[in-house]
């Protein structure tokens, strides 16, 4: 079985983002970029499935501008076998991403597609579900455990209030949640090896998918700030303020 795992290049999760002064978006020039953390978990899970003898090949796919190649190389350095880059400039909405990925899935025929549950930039969290829908495949979203069986997989999902386990027929789409695993670091020899691994390139035209924009971002603003309040001296003062000033207890 082949596993296709999606990786997105995003602003590093440790960076405090800044909204552009013209309110058109978030400042990305000279900002550290990294692989979306949920996608790192996806790559790790694909590699563990392969290392357990349940997959033959791990293919990392990224969609976007030329620099997505760096993110694919990171996945290759972690241990993925080869990469696919669907190169296109500009913003890709989840529906378009799902259509492009569907076209790649039809060429590659993986038995499992893994995506992060959301990318930490736009926080849409929709692409995995939309890809599964377009393929007519089941979806195991927010996965904290994947247990591959003969004809199906048991996927444990992080849901409000606890965990839920579903049995999904194969092939399937899975989206990762935080506790699925702890991703490995790429070793230096593997980083060197990754430079020689192949990356196939496609354009949206190659895949016969139109890049559409159905949602327009009118403006991006800073959230309303909160003012720091007062420092109280004692627990008694705190309880007094909560009772008599804020009146919340």
């Amino acid at each position: 079985m082949k596993i296709l795992v999606a990786v997105k290049r995003v602003i590093d999760y440790n960076v405090k983002i800044r909204v552009k002064s013209d309110n058109t978006g978030v400042e990305t020039a000279n900002v550290k970029m990294s692989m979306n953390p949920f996608d790192e978990i996806g790559v790790e899970e694909a590699l563990r499935i392969k290392e357990a003898g349940n997959a033959s090949e791990v293919v990392a796919i990224s969609l976007g501008g030329a620099k997505c190649q760096e993110t694919i190389r990171t996945a290759l350095a972690m241990g993925a076998d080869r990469g696919i880059h669907v190169e296109t400039d500009g913003v890709l909405e989840p529906l378009t991403l799902a259509k492009l990925m569907k076209a790649v899935v039809e060429r590659e025929e993986p038995g499992l597609v893994i995506l992060g549950k959301q990318a930490i930039d736009n926080d849409n969290g929709q692409t995995a579900q939309m890809l599964a829908a377009l393929l007519g495949w089941p979806q195991g979203t927010f996965a904290s455990k994947i247990d591959l069986q003969d004809s199906e997989a048991l996927v444990t999902r992080e849901v409000d209030g606890g965990l839920e386990t579903v049995a999904l027929g194969r092939p399937m789409v899975v989206s990762t949640d935080l506790r699925l695993n702890e991703p490995r670091y790429a070793s230096l020899p593997n980083i060197m090896k990754a430079k020689k691994k192949p990356i196939d390139k496609y354009s949206p035209e190659d895949l016969s998918v139109a890049v559409e924009h159905r949602i327009t971002v009118l403006k991006v603003e800073e959230p309303a700030g909160r003012q720091a309040g007062v420092i109280v001296e004692s627990v008694e003062e705190l309880v007094d303020k909560l009772r008599n000033e804020a009146k919340v207890i």
Binding site: L131, D160, G162, G169, V230, V239, A246, V248, I249
Partner: protein, 313 residues
């Protein structure tokens, strides 16, 4: 035309996130229908019909909907969608699972996690863990939307008299099966429904020490939460987590204990009405958003707080 809201229900009650989604739906259109799908869900349909602002309840009673599996539920929404200008659900793990799937089947671009309705096609939603707010406009004639529950007051559960109409099931695509669930058992209110929350962070040092929070929580009728750092350290399960990668909450009172105030945690609680921070590090960023800060060792402050709450004011 009208708006369809997908209802989450449990034990014959309509859940809070759905009440908020109804409020968002009313901002789009006065004709709001509630879809109650489940197995033996008549009590939930009755509860839905009594909700203020709901004009019709669509009840779909079938064993395939006993659990909200995305595959059959998305097919059901698709089967009903032609009569509506918009389909809404709460931005919960259920809504987030089902609605994007339904949207793709309808070839529609969905909008997730809206915080406000700015116009018939324009919405605000948080991006970058709530560190920026985007105003987005859709060109879709039919809108598929998930709603941030904390950003909308819930519709009143009583006051309406909507007719209940039943609709046929849309079949089982046979892709998925419910196996089981492990829900965290608690006598306390659920995080997303609680009016008071007390959360612990890495400063709690161990899971055992969370009993200090439990004692205070019991006296306040509060829910207990945690920061991602406390969850990652294994102190408490993941469903305690408040933050962008956990639950988004906005209670009347949020008490952060031993929590430094990482951006990702703030994104999950900064809309709380009153925030209290207890931390021994006076430089902790949590104090910048707190209405009341107490610089203290939590192992002394929590027992003292518990004792002070016992005293009459």
């Amino acid at each position: 035309m009208s708006v369809l809201v997908y209802a989450e229900h449990k034990d014959g009650r309509i859940l809070g996130g759905t009440l908020s989604a109804v409020t968002a739906a009313i901002a789009l259109d006065q004709d709001v229908h509630l879809l109650v799908a489940g197995e033996s869900c008549t009590d939930a349909a009755d509860a839905a019909s009594r909700m203020a602002g709901v004009t019709r309840v669509i009840q779909v009673d079938d064993p395939v909907y006993a659990h909200p599996l995305a595959e059959p539920m998305a097919d059901l929404i698709v089967s009903l969608a032609s009569g509506y200008d918009a389909v809404l659900a709460a931005h919960t793990t259920v809504g987030k699972n089902i609605l994007p799937r339904a949207a793709a089947l309808l070839d529609l671009a969905p909008i997730g996690d809206i915080m406000s309705v700015e116009g018939p096609d324009t919405f605000k939603r948080p991006i970058y863990a709530g560190n920026a707010i985007a105003t987005v406009q859709t060109s879709e004639s039919k809108k598929i939307i998930t709603v941030r529950a904390t950003a909308f007051d819930g519709a009143a559960p009583e006051g309406g008299e909507a007719p209940i109409e039943s609709a046929p099931a849309a079949g089982d695509p046979g892709l998925s099966r419910f196996v089981g669930q492990e829900l965290t058992k608690s006598e306390r209110p659920e995080l997303t429904a609680a009016s008071i929350i007390i959360s612990g962070g890495r400063g709690m040092q161990s899971g055992d020490n969370f009993h200090l929070l439990d004692t205070v929580a019991d006296k306040l009728g509060a829910a207990v939460g945690a920061s991602r750092a406390a969850v990652d350290a294994g102190f408490v399960p993941n469903d305690y987590q408040v933050g962008q990668t956990g639950k988004i909450v906005a209670p009347e009172l949020y008490i952060a204990v031993g929590i430094s105030g990482a951006i990702q945690h703030l994104a999950g609680m900064k809309d709380s009405k009153v925030i209290v921070a207890i931390n021994k590090d006076e430089e902790a960023p949590i104090f910048q958003v707190a209405d009341y800060g107490l610089v203290a060792d939590l192992f002394k402050a929590l027992p003292a707080l518990s004792e002070a709450l016992d005293k009459e004011d």
